[in-house]
Amino acid sequence: MDFLSKNLPYLLAGISVGGQYALIAIGYTMVYGILRLINFAHGDIFMVAGLVLIYSTTVFPLYISIPLTIIVTVILGMSIEKIAYRPLRNSPRMSVMISAIGVSYLLQNLALYITGGLAQVYPTIPFISSPITIGPATTKVVTILTPILMIILVIGLMQLINHTKIGMAMRSVSTDFETSRLMGINVNNVISMTFVIGSFLAAIGSLLYFSNYPSVIPTSGGMPGLKAFVAAVFGGIGSIPGAVIGAMLIGIVENLIKGVGWTTFSDAFTFVLLIFVLLFKPTGLFGEAATDKV
């Protein structure tokens, strides 16, 4: 009991951060599921969402800039797929991956150019930034809101994938492009849809994540992006429940490590975990068996 009350703030922070990682990790895992591509630009899309909110709040009130941020992020994700990945649809996977890395640097450097390299102060979003007390711990509303919102979004997403026509089409396309085309499915539209969902969730994740931080810099997407990627690999890349569980686990353990006082090692834990997963269970918790698409 003593341990729990002492570590409750860390546990809460872990659940919250885990939820934010989960929202990013779903984007990685869905794109991988359908294109077999690690979208390295995903973390930077997340960062851009942060910057878009900052710049739009200088002009618009929050109730306009939040939806605007989500829309701009979705359009960005879709355009990246259209411009940088689609023309390489029949190229070796390595080419698309290099293209993704290129997009990642492009976004970071564009952000550097636009911000002038200065940290941009993230606006305070009322309500989600207000303090709330749970037992012995005082935290922000966002800490509680994140896991709830994440779970609602994930349930909605699973419903979409398992019980709608577009969801069925997504699952078909993820197994077989050509046969999907024979069904009359427009494969490109389905892939666009995947990027729309991934970017939408990244935008929500960005709103929640950055409200815990004072500012956004061009490399702000790097660390959360990488950790979400590890979460997706740990859960079994391609699997949405896997990504969520992986992200929650990484978020919670990281923060408990901070609670114990080993803050310096909290990031190291994530990457050691990645190494161990790759060594001993490369398909992750719920990953499909390593049969390559023929």
Binding site: K165, R171, T175
Partner: protein
């Protein structure tokens, strides 16, 4: 349904056979016997893959309501022909018309929408989807009620009904082939093309597959069948074409080809007498 009107408008010659009214799947049913109207016309089709010409200028027709088969050895260009009809390969020359529409400039989606469907080689069912979901994917372009068609394909393939909720990947090869055919029927095509439906199946299952092919044809469906199993294919077909290295070398009615000496030697494994 526009295709009904087209059918009525067609003027027939006397070739062909009477089809009985069948399941609810076909929009192109005729009560008045068959016209022999050419549904699909392929002229001087050429298909190349990076400099290698797989199909070297072939022409053939598929009359409405008939079973037409392309037979030939591996690499003769049969699959390439089917793939270019449905837009998966771009032909380098020639024309493909279906109901008078030129298909070569259309994308696969549009071709499927116009009433052609392909049962691909190797079945290619969606292994992670249930049998029912596979059938729904077959009807992807339709927004109307599917229950009649589901009942109909389940009556053709009762074993699929038993496996309604089972993942398609857990079915046996024969069941997967049945599912692939059923899935294709769900789009209510005017013409169904099948690429080696007997491939890798036990003889008794092959027989079953061909019985089904005959049955759906009897119900009015036009079928273009590609086979290496020349014996079975020619027995079922109204008309056959023999392909060799990208060219059509022989054509005739299924019966005539089955009796043809060259065909017998090359494909039916019968020695010269």
């Amino acid at each position: 349904m526009s295709d009904k009107n087209k059918n009525v408008a067609s003027t027939g010659n006397t070739v062909g056979k009477v089809t009985s009214a069948g399941g609810p799947g076909f929009g192109n049913k005729r009560e008045d016997g068959l016209s022999g109207r050419i549904l699909l016309k392929v002229s001087d089709l050429k298909v190349s893959y990076g400099g290698i010409e797989a199909v070297r200028g072939i022409s053939f027709d598929v009359p409405e309501g008939e079973i037409v088969t392309l037979i030939g050895a591996n690499g003769a260009g049969k699959s390439s022909t089917l793939r270019s009809i449905v837009g998966l390969e771009k032909p380098s020359a020639g024309s493909i018309t279906f109901n008078g529409m030129e298909l070569t400039s259309m994308g696969t989606e549009q071709i499927v929408k116009n009433g052609i469907t392909l049962v691909p080689e190797g079945r290619r069912v969606f292994v992670n989807l249930s049998v029912y979901e596979n059938l729904r994917m077959g009807a992807y372009l339709r927004n109307d009620d599917l229950s009649k068609d589901l009942d109909w394909v389940y009556s053709l393939f009762p074993r699929l009904k038993e496996r309604h909720w089972q993942a398609a990947g857990t079915l046996s090869g024969g069941e997967q082939q049945m599912l692939a055919i059923a899935r294709a029927l769900m789009s209510r095509p005017q013409m169904i093309m099948m690429d080696e439906p007997s491939l890798g199946l036990a003889p008794i299952i092959v027989q079953e597959v061909f019985d089904i092919i005959r049955e759906i044809n009897r119900q009015g469906m036009t079928i273009l069948l590609v086979e290496q199993n020349a014996n079975m294919a020619l027995k079922a077909a109204d008309k056959g074409y023999v392909m060799e290295t990208g060219r059509i070398t022989l054509s005739g009615s299924g019966m005539d080809l089955a009796e043809n000496q060259e065909v017998k030697e090359a494909y039916l494994g019968k020695a010269r007498k």
